[in-house]
Every structure is written in structure tokens, then in C-alpha cells.
């Protein structure tokens, strides 16, 4: 793990991605623990729609709330939803993908056809449908995004697991009488950590975008709580009067997505044995 972090820090785009990610992670933690410059919900009717200043670095919004504080809370909210949804999706996808590859036959067919069904839905519409069923909220967003991305993890895990299953070391383990679950977790699972890691970073980027999109449509995080998508939606009608309301969440969202994309690129280079030689 530390070795991997060192490799990432040595990779040019990995370094930038990691730096941005750490800044956002700190902002997210501070935002969610309430250590923001102002209370994100505190309204100051006198200081409405003020541009960036020393008192309010990123200005204030229509209700005089501090944009920086809201941004920090929003990043925290986006991170929580993204991490949990990608966590659930990768876990679900890994279990389904591994068991589909291992048992093959009927189970494989059922799982993969069901994943085809989910993949045939446009991502945001599938998420919308799930959210309208359960009602908007943080955990509904987590569930919706997890269901949308689980099929991708299932496919990513199944493909390599299929070829690994036929390898000699798996046969050797079986002749020793190693249990199925042990082979699946230790021999297959550990060998699939590399593609899984890359996929997780990329999925985090999509999850951030999907969460922001759902909130933008009013079906994610509910006001008065802050989220990047909600801030963008609020900025829509005020962009000429108060452009910072648009720029701040737009740039923040872009940088957050960028950091995960850069990390994903770096991890792909580092974990791929072909490019690894080139880097070394």
C-alpha cells in the first residue's frame, strides 16, 4: 500500500492527482465535521450576493451564506456519496463477477444477462428511476449510483477471473484441497486487485459527476444542505449577477473529477506490467 502510494507520487500525473485529492479530502473532512469558516446554513441577509472578499473568500450566495463553507460541506457530501456508492458497487460487482466466472454455466448466464439489462439503461435515467421509487436522500443516491455502476465492476472482474481460473496455480491450489472461497478470495481476488483499483478510481470520478447531476435535477441532496450539484442549480439564474456562484462549484467539481482521472491514469500505468517496465 505504501509502496503503491510512493509509485503514484513518483508518476507525473499521479502526483498532481494525489495533491488535488488530498486538498479536497481535507476540505471534505473539515466540511463534514463542521470545521468550516462559517456555518454553511447561516444566513446573513445584509451580506447577500457579495463577491469574493477577505471575509468571504468565495463570496456569499442569495441568502448571504458563505460559499466557501457551503462548498466544503458540498464536497464532503459528494465524497461520502461517491465513496459509499463505489464501495458498494465494487463489492457487489466483485462478488458477482468472481462467482460468475467460477461457477460459469447457469449462474454466469443469469448474472451476466441481468447486468446486460442494467447496462442497456441510460445511467442517469436508471438512477432517477431508483430515486423516485425510494424518495431522494443521501442513502438513496448511494444505492442508485451503486446499482448503476455494479455491472461495470462485474464485467471488469469476470473477464480476467475467467482466464485466471484456468491457470495452473489455481489447479494446484485445488489439488491441495484448498476451499473454494479461499481460492476465490486469495488466488483470484488478489490477482484482480490491479484492474479493480483502476476501475475504482475511474468509478469515483463518474460517481461524483452522477451525484452532482442528480442533485442538479433536484433528486439528490435536498436543500438547505449543500452539494456541488445543488450549488450549480442555484447559480443558474444568478450567473450574470453573481458569476462566482457558478465558477466556484464548477471548478471544484472539475478538479475533483480531474484528480480521480489523473490517479486512474497513474494507477493504470503503475499496475500494468507492460508500462511498468517503461516507467522504471
Amino acid at each position: 500500500m505504501t509502496a503503491l502510494l510512493k509509485d503514484v507520487a513518483r508518476h507525473p500525473s499521479g502526483r498532481i492527482g494525489l495533491a488535488i485529492f488530498i486538498v479536497f479530502l481535507i476540505a471534505a473532512i473539515l466540511g463534514k465535521t463542521g470545521l468550516t469558516p462559517y456555518d454553511p446554513l447561516m444566513q446573513d441577509r445584509v451580506a447577500r450576493l457579495q463577491g469574493p472578499s477577505n471575509a468571504h473568500w468565495f463570496g456569499t450566495d442569495l441568502f448571504g451564506r458563505d460559499v466557501l463553507s457551503r462548498l466544503m460541506e458540498g464536497i464532503g457530501q459528494s465524497f461520502i456519496i461517491s465513496f459509499f456508492s463505489v464501495g458498494v458497487a465494487s463489492l457487489l460487482g466483485s462478488v458477482l463477477g468472481l462467482t460468475a466466472a467460477w461457477f460459469s454455466g447457469l449462474w454466469d448466464g443469469v448474472v451476466m444477462r441481468f447486468m446486460d439489462v442494467l447496462l442497456a439503461f441510460p445511467a442517469i435515467l436508471l438512477a432517477l428511476l431508483i430515486i423516485t421509487i425510494f424518495g431522494p436522500g443521501t442513502w438513496t443516491s448511494v444505492l442508485a449510483i451503486a446499482i448503476v455502476y455494479a455491472p461495470i465492476f462485474t464485467r471488469v472482474m469476470r473477464g480476467p477471473a475467467l482466464s485466471l481460473r484456468r491457470r495452473d496455480f489455481v489447479d494446484a491450489a485445488r489439488t491441495f484441497g484448498t476451499s473454494r472461497s479461499y481460492i476465490m478470495t486469495r488466488h483470484l481476488g488478489l490477482n484482480l486487485v490491479a484492474p479493480l483499483t483502476v476501475q475504482i478510481t475511474l468509478a469515483l470520478a463518474w460517481a461524483l459527476v452522477t451525484e452532482a447531476g442528480l442533485s442538479f435535477l433536484g433528486l439528490g441532496t435536498q436543500p438547505p444542505n449543500a452539494s456541488l450539484g445543488l450549488m450549480l442549480a442555484d447559480a443558474r439564474n444568478l450567473m450574470e449577477m453573481a458569476p462566482w456562484l457558478l465558477w466556484v462549484p464548477a471548478i471544484a467539481l472539475m478538479l475533483a473529477v480531474l484528480s480521480f482521472n489523473l490517479l486512474g491514469d497513474a494507477l493504470r500505468d503503475i499496475l500494468d506490467p507492460k508500462t511498468r517496465r517503461r516507467l522504471a
Binding site: 500525473s13 444477462r113 441481468f114 446486460d116 439489462v117 442494467l118 442497456a120 439503461f121 441510460p122 442517469i124 435515467l125 432517477l128 428511476l129 431508483i130 423516485t132 421509487i133 424518495g135 470520478a205 459527476v209 452532482a212 447531476g213 442538479f216 435535477l217 450549480l232 447559480a235 443558474r236 450567473m239 450574470e240 458569476p243 457558478l246 464548477a250 467539481l253 472539475m254 478538479l255 473529477v257 480531474l258 482521472n261 489523473l262
Partner: protein, 319 residues
């Protein structure tokens, strides 16, 4: 069994899965369709009126009967009647799909026209400053969500030029191509940005791989000019993965770009489905999702076939 035929065989199975999934999912949404259709006026209905409306839309039957009736209709090309529009679902889809199709085509054109030359240029100038610039631009393009691009474009246009995009009634391309393009260009650029970034990254990386292939080196050592090697030998092969990528992206775009349609107030398929979900318009949600899934799978099948046709190695490797 050849792969495309296997795909064709599972096609109806997956479509049936999509149909069942969406049928059940939309019925799990709390609230009933008649109330959603009439809004506050639904309170004025007498029980008898409510019953006759339910009977008209077939909502008085249990789920199994409703599903079989609907499925039988679908197989005969009848997707049912929308509760919000009071029109056949097929009519509504054909009204909104052309816009979505046009948007998808325009964004793909923008992506390919910008993406392929930029990717090739970056690959042939590897590690020079110009390559770095292209890569950075592509990375930013890929990292900016399309609805953010849309919002920023609207802002830049309104502040920089004092004009707002035409968001009144939508003009179909068949009525007035110029007015139509004026409305469509911003949404197309919006969707084309991330698409172009993906094309740049894909064409650059495949071109780099191909430039290291033996046949490229052979052509160069024969004394063939570099430019000719790139255009005649490397480019056609480098385009294969780009075509696959573009096809898949195109398939996604045919599903409607909900957020971008929302920002630019375009009556495309995405927004229609969004509203149908919020209105619990069962028939419209079922019909349009089925239509979208059908398109998506057809496009993916065509992409696979094109891939096999373009790359002889795959064609002859049939298992």
C-alpha cells in the same frame, strides 16, 4: 457459434429483461398514475370516474395481466397510450427522438472532427510541448461534466456577447435548418467536449502503439515518407478503436442527454423520460426506456460487427 449470432440470440432475452425491470420499477414508484395525471383535479373525480379512467388505461388489472397486455401490444408495435399526453407512446417517441438523434450526430461529428486530428497530431509529436498541451486540454475536457460545460457556455455567451441561447420553441431541422442549427450548436458543443476528449485520448494512445509496430518501421526503412506512412499505414488501423469508442458513446447519446436537454430546454427523449418518471406515466416510461435500450443494443451490435469487419485478425479468429 460466431459471436454476433450469439449476441443476436440473447438480444430478445435482454430486451425482455429490460421490459420486466422497467415495468416493475415504475410501478414501485409511490403514488398512482391517475392522481399524477390530473394533479389537484384528481380530488374532484367520483369513484366511478376514477374506475373508468383506470379501466381505459388498463390500470385496473393486476400486474401480470397488465404486463401481458402491454407485451402483446409491444410485439404488434403498439406501446400503449401515455397518461400525460393522451397520445400513443409511439407518436410521442417519434416526436422527440429526431432531436435526440440530431444532437447525438452533431456531437459525434464535433468530437471526430476535433478529436482525431488532435490525437494524431499529439501522437506524432510525442513529448513535445504541443503534445503536452493537447493532453492537458483532453484531460480537462474529460474531467468536466457535460452539464457544467453547458452552464459555462451559457454564461460565457451571455456575459461575453450579451446573447442568450435561443431557448424558445424548438424548431425541427426539416422546418428551418438555420434556426434549428442555431439552437442545436451549443448543446452539441456541450456534449461534444467530453466526447472529443475521449476521442483524442484514444486516437493518441492507439497511434502511439501503432507507430511502434514492425510494419510501420518496415515502411519507413523502405524509404517511404513519414507523412505517407502515417496516413496510409498507421491511421486506418489507429481508427479502429476510435470507431468502437465513438459507436458506444453514440449509443449512450441516443438515450437522451437528460441534463443537457434540461439546461438548454430541449424537448428531447431524455427530458421526456425524466418527466414521464416524475409523472408516473407508466406507458411512456416503459415504451421509451424499451426504445432507448433497443437502440443502445442495436448500436452496440453494429459496433461489434464493424469492429470485426475492420480488423481482419478478429474476423478470422472466430471461435
Amino acid at each position: 457459434m460466431p459471436y454476433p449470432i450469439k449476441r443476436l440470440l440473447v438480444f430478445p432475452l435482454v430486451m425482455l429483461g429490460v421490459a420486466i425491470f422497467v415495468f416493475v420499477a415504475i410501478r414501485l414508484v409511490p403514488g398512482d398514475a391517475i392522481t399524477a395525471m390530473l394533479g389537484t383535479e384528481s380530488g374532484l373525480l367520483t369513484p366511478a370516474q376514477r374506475e373508468s379512467l383506470s379501466a381505459y388505461f388498463g390500470l385496473d388489472q393486476n400486474w401480470f395481466v397488465q404486463f401481458w397486455r402491454w407485451l402483446a401490444g409491444v410485439l404488434q408495435g403498439d406501446l400503449g397510450i401515455s397518461t400525460t399526453y393522451g397520445q400513443p407512446v409511439m407518436t410521442i417517441i417519434w416526436e422527440h427522438f429526431p432531436l435526440t438523434l440530431e444532437l447525438a450526430v452533431l456531437s459525434m461529428l464535433i468530437a471526430l472532427i476535433i478529436g482525431i486530428p488532435a490525437g494524431i497530431y499529439a501522437a506524432t509529436n510525442k513529448d513535445r510541448p504541443s503534445d503536452l498541451i493537447v493532453r492537458i486540454v483532453a484531460m480537462f475536457g474529460q474531467s468536466t461534466p457535460s452539464f457544467v460545460v453547458g452552464l459555462l457556455l451559457v454564461y460565457l455567451l451571455s456575459v461575453g456577447f450579451g446573447v442568450l441561447p435561443e431557448m424558445g420553441t424548438f424548431v425541427p431541422i426539416t422546418e428551418d435548418p438555420v434556426a434549428n442549427l442555431a439552437q442545436m450548436i451549443l448543446p452539441a458543443i456541450t456534449l461534444g467536449t467530453a466526447f472529443a476528449a475521449a476521442v483524442i485520448r484514444m486516437s493518441r494512445s492507439t497511434m502511439l502503439d501503432i507507430l511502434q509496430e514492425d510494419y510501420v518501421r518496415t515502411a519507413r526503412s523502405k524509404g517511404m515518407p513519414r507523412r505517407r506512412v502515417i496516413w496510409r499505414h498507421a491511421l486506418p488501423n489507429a481508427l479502429i478503436p476510435v470507431i468502437t469508442l465513438s459507436g458506444v458513446e453514440f449509443g449512450y447519446l441516443l438515450g437522451g442527454a437528460v441534463l443537457v436537454e434540461q439546461i438548454f430546454a430541449l424537448p428531447g427523449l431524455g427530458r421526456t423520460v425524466l418527466n414521464a418518471i416524475l409523472q408516473r406515466d407508466y406507458a411512456l416510461v416503459q415504451g421509451s426506456v424499451l426504445f432507448i435500450a433497443f437502440n443502445f443494443m442495436i448500436v452496440n451490435l453494429l459496433v461489434d460487427l464493424a469492429y470485426a469487419a475492420l480488423d481482419p485478425r478478429i474476423r478470422f479468429e472466430s471461435k
